[in-house]
Amino acid sequence: MKTAVIRFPASNCDRDAAVALEKITGRPTEIVWHRETSLPDDIDFVVIPGGFSYGDYLRAGAIAARSPIVKDIVRRAGKGLTVAGFCNGFQILTEAGLLPGALIRNRNLKFVCRPERLIVQNTKSRFTSKYTAKSEVIYPVAHHDGNYFADDATLNRLEKNNQVLFRYADNPNGSIRDIAGIMNETGNVFGMMPHPERAVDPVHGGTDGLDFFKSIIESI
């Protein structure tokens, strides 16, 4: 499987994502610069990493979502390419319109960094197939604007289509209906505020993130 990680100005989990992908796939990961206008053709899986692209100025993820490479990601996602965004990557995917809703300032207005308990909602997705239904996993969160919001109609649709893949056990940021991670209707684009790539090595204090990536490998 060939993987790529996008690097925007002030992405800062790009290396972390690449390390996780290389550990799990056993193959080098391509780092793609934001000014590129197209992804390599043979890519199977793209990660939009965490960080503070463009300093989170204006709105988290807003400026990165308008960069050349994202146009091509939108195009390729339309053709079924598997895309995942973590933290700032999730914000970018919503800003780019690949995922519904928006991420606003945490309820208590403070940055929050801590290991977070998540409940897996749907194990029939290509991102969660290796988890057992309703199981609890721990991924670290680290964000300032992780408060997920969407209108009721959108939320009901998300839930009806089982697009909500993870919910928080102890909501750290005010996200509506405790939503931590969602996928698009066609099931190939996923975003979440927590960091699975920070839970793949015993020194991270847990390896619950491994099965997330293994699920994707299996699906491809």
């Binding site: 403070k110 940055f111 680290a142």
Partner: protein
């Protein structure tokens, strides 16, 4: 504003913080009156902040050499060798005054500044620490300062993507009008690719990179050297705004260019911006520098030469580029969307020559700025030694449960989770242990390897206040102990010496005493000082802060599977205490919290015993003989045991005191002590080996259950006590402190 007055009157000279003697030296060296630009340059270079005029001769006493030291004090940061061609580059710095005036931006730019000191030398920053000192929790300004400072550190460090892995936080009325914000950065480089600031060659291009220059922080350097008074609110406009986004781009761009051979010398623009950076580079390299200020990227219209030279706009670097590599440099910096310009050349004149609008606006010899910089031997006096207080003479509480709760919820002991949960501790995914465990030292893996660095910051100002010399020894000893607790070999330290007005003999006495005590410990442990920073004039209306020589220690863990933390204690483990307990309550937390007294001599530090005990504990960790380790510091054995219980999430029981008063046994702060949680079968070998080495080691309790208890003293539930420990700071921060200024 002085810059508009071309006439150099005595008032203008005074406004620039120069004494008449200092001004006379300038006249002699120039053989003429300086113009306003030249005066401004001398004034910042000779400010306390840049010239260390009160401290230089005392700092010179420090042990600065060691087998692993690649670069000691004198460069942007210290460099140590951690084998395999890896080097660790680190420094700690204060941003006290700016943080008091504008907590968010002051703290943020403090973090940005210390990171630049580290990546300037070719290192990728891998960890941040912060040592914070605030006023009384009940003081009307404290909450707002804590809020702003913590948000500022988080806002900057999190955005740049460097984990903030640890620190310390004290509250004391002595900081009501003058908080301390000390930030430490640790970076990783290759020993064969470390960069220095000495300019070389003649006619080599000088590049300016980073943000445009604005009118930010003009005279910040002189301000950081001026005592506070109530109208210092007036000094507000000098506060700079940080831009972590640009800092992140600057790190990536500099590291990218450093991978080529384009850079001859590089220096960040910190205090006194373009002035100190260009002069330091020229002075170290023994060359001259000619700059064309019209080329300096400017954010604002019609800036004067004076403003450009003294501006402290953030996120800027100065470098000497290899001739022929100019285009390469331009390409890299433009790729990262940074402002870049060639603003001058190195020369063979030994002078700093500045042109602006085609006119020569400054032409001064560089050597005198350094060589003739004032170097004072300020009078210093020693405070009389304090009486030693015997524990039998200290009031003994009749309610140990209550005393334990009082102490565990006291400002300096209570959990600082509210602070460190705002810091990204995991980015870069090499954090092995951080604030999260409440541990003694943070542990950060060297990327792609199986080794790690351990990092800690410590200072116990109440000990230094009580006895600067013993207190100075204790500060260094505690960092050494904290590194030992995780199984690291302590290697070297950086320091941030925060004191009051050095023109007062009693303050200077604290300063000299602390340095001599610290230095004795450095020698005993072969634990050199490789970088540091001095912050003087920390006073408000003549009230000095408690003497606060904060120290940041760094150690090496050869194999991350041979380390320890305080979170590994298991059901059925035995608790062993290493080190003698006399029940020392002088200058202790027990005394301040239960008796509201700060009296007494501080616990003495026997450096030979420290070494003996520490080396033994480290060997036990290396041999995997212990489940958990924590040293005894603030609050003594009882608090150490509680912190281990919280972190391991299991109860502890402590045996009764043997022939010392119970309060001294539980809360005494004798030094050189470690609490170990070990398996049953390891107990005898550990204790008997210790005896053989002449090390005090005794079984003092057990691990297990869900209660925290001490024979004949307290017995409380683990969870109940943990909740109290955790809730003190959140409750303070959510309370509404009435604005007393009304």
């Amino acid at each position: 504003m002085a810059k508009n007055k071309s006439e150099i009157t005595p008032e203008v000279v005074a406004e620039h913080g120069l004494s008449t003697q200092e001004y006379q030296i300038i006249l002699d060296r120039l053989g003429r009156k300086p113009n306003i630009n030249e005066l401004g340059i001398f004034s910042v270079m000779w400010s306390e902040h840049c010239s260390y005029k009160s401290s230089r001769r005392h700092l010179a006493k420090f042990l600065t050499k060691g087998t692993r030291v690649i670069q000691g004090p004198g460069e942007n940061a210290g460099v140590i060798d951690i084998d395999d061609g890896d080097a660790i580059i680190f420094k700690m710095e204060s941003h006290n005054h700016p943080s008091y005036i504008e907590p968010y931006q002051g703290a943020a730019t403090g973090v940005g500044g210390i990171m630049r000191d580290v990546f300037t030398m070719g290192a990728r920053p891998i960890a941040l620490m912060n040592a914070l000192r605030f006023g009384e929790p009940t003081h009307w300004k404290t909450k707002q300062l804590v809020n702003g400072v913590v948000a500022g550190i988080a806002g900057y460090g999190n955005c740049v993507g460097v984990p903030t892995v640890g620190g310390e936080t004290n509250f004391h009325k002595g900081y009501n009008g003058n908080i301390l914000v000390n930030a430490m950065c640790v970076g990783l480089a290759r020993t064969d690719n470390v960069f220095y600031s000495a300019a070389k060659g003649v006619g080599n291009p000088i590049f300016y990179v980073g943000s445009k220059t604005g009118r930010d922080g003009i005279h910040g350097a002189t301000m950081a050297s001026a005592e506070f008074d109530d109208d210092s609110e007036e000094k507000r406009p000098t506060v700079q705004v940080g831009d972590p986004f640009t800092e992140k781009l600057l790190i990536e761009a500099c590291l990218e260019l450093m991978a080529t051979d384009a850079i001859i010398a590089i220096q960040d623009m910190g205090a006194a911006g373009l002035t100190s950076s260009s002069i330091e580079m020229a002075d170290k390299g023994g060359v001259g520098i000619a700059l064309n200020l019209d080329k300096v990227p400017q954010r604002e219209d019609n800036m004067t030469a004076y403003e450009m030279m003294l501006s402290e706009s953030q996120e800027r670097m100065l470098m000497v580029i290899q001739p022929g590599k100019e285009q390469l440099a331009f390409d890299v910096f433009q790729k990262w969307e940074l402002d870049v310009a060639q603003i001058g050349k190195t020369t063979d004149t030994g002078r700093l020559v500045l042109k602006h609008h085609g006119k020569k606006v400054c032409d001064i010899p560089i050597a005198p700025l350094a060589d003739d910089a004032p170097n004072y031997d300020r009078p210093h006096s020693k405070a009389p030694a304090r009486d030693i207080i015997k524990s039998k003479d200290v009031f003994e509480t009749q309610d140990y449960n209550d005393a334990l709760v009082k102490i565990i919820t006291s400002p300096n002991i209570a959990s600082k989770r509210w602070i460190w949960e705002q810091y990204d501790r995991h980015v870069m995914t090499d954090t092995v242990d951080s604030s999260q465990s409440g541990g003694d030292a943070a542990i950060v893996r060297i990327h792609g390897s199986n080794k790690a660095v351990a990092i800690t910051t410590d200072c116990t100002p109440r000990y230094v206040e009580a006895d600067p010399y013993e207190g100075g020894k204790q500060v260094v000893a505690e960092t050494w102990r904290n590194l030992t607790c995780v199984g690291a070999d302590p290697i070297a330290i950086t320091d941030c010496l925060n004191f009051g007005n050095p023109e007062r003999p009693e303050i200077m006495g604290q300063f000299v005493g602390a340095i001599e005590g610290m230095n004795e410990a450095c020698h005993a442990f072969d634990y050199p000082v490789v970088s540091g920073n001095v912050s003087l004039y920390n006073e408000t209306n003549g009230q000095a802060i408690p003497p606060t020589p904060a120290v940041g220690g760094v150690g090496l863990i050869q194999k991350i599977d041979h380390m320890a933390t305080l979170s590994g204690a298991k059901e059925g483990d035995t608790l062993i205490l290493i080190g003698e307990t006399s029940g020392w309550l002088g200058a202790s937390i027990y005394l301040s919290e239960i008796q509201s007294s700060e009296d007494g001599a501080p616990p003495p530090v026997d450096l030979e015993v420290e070494k003996l005990n520490g080396n033994y504990v480290r060997s036990l960790i290396r041999n995997r003989r212990v489940h958990a380790v924590h040293d005894c510091s603030d609050g003594g054995l009882a608090i150490t045991a509680c912190e281990m219980a919280f972190s391991s999430n299991i109860g502890v029981h402590l045996d009764a005191a043997k022939n010392i008063p119970t309060h001294g046994w539980l809360f005494g702060e004798d030094q050189a002590r470690y609490l170990l949680a070990v398996e049953e079968h390891s107990v005898n070998p550990i204790v008997s080996t210790a005896k053989g080495k002449g090390i005090a080691a005794q079984v003092i309790g057990k691990v297990g259950g869900e209660r925290i208890s001490a024979e004949g003293a307290f017995d409380v539930s683990l969870n109940g006590l943990r909740d109290k420990h955790e809730s003190w700071l959140p409750e303070l921060m959510n309370s509404t402190v009435k604005d007393a200024a009304e």
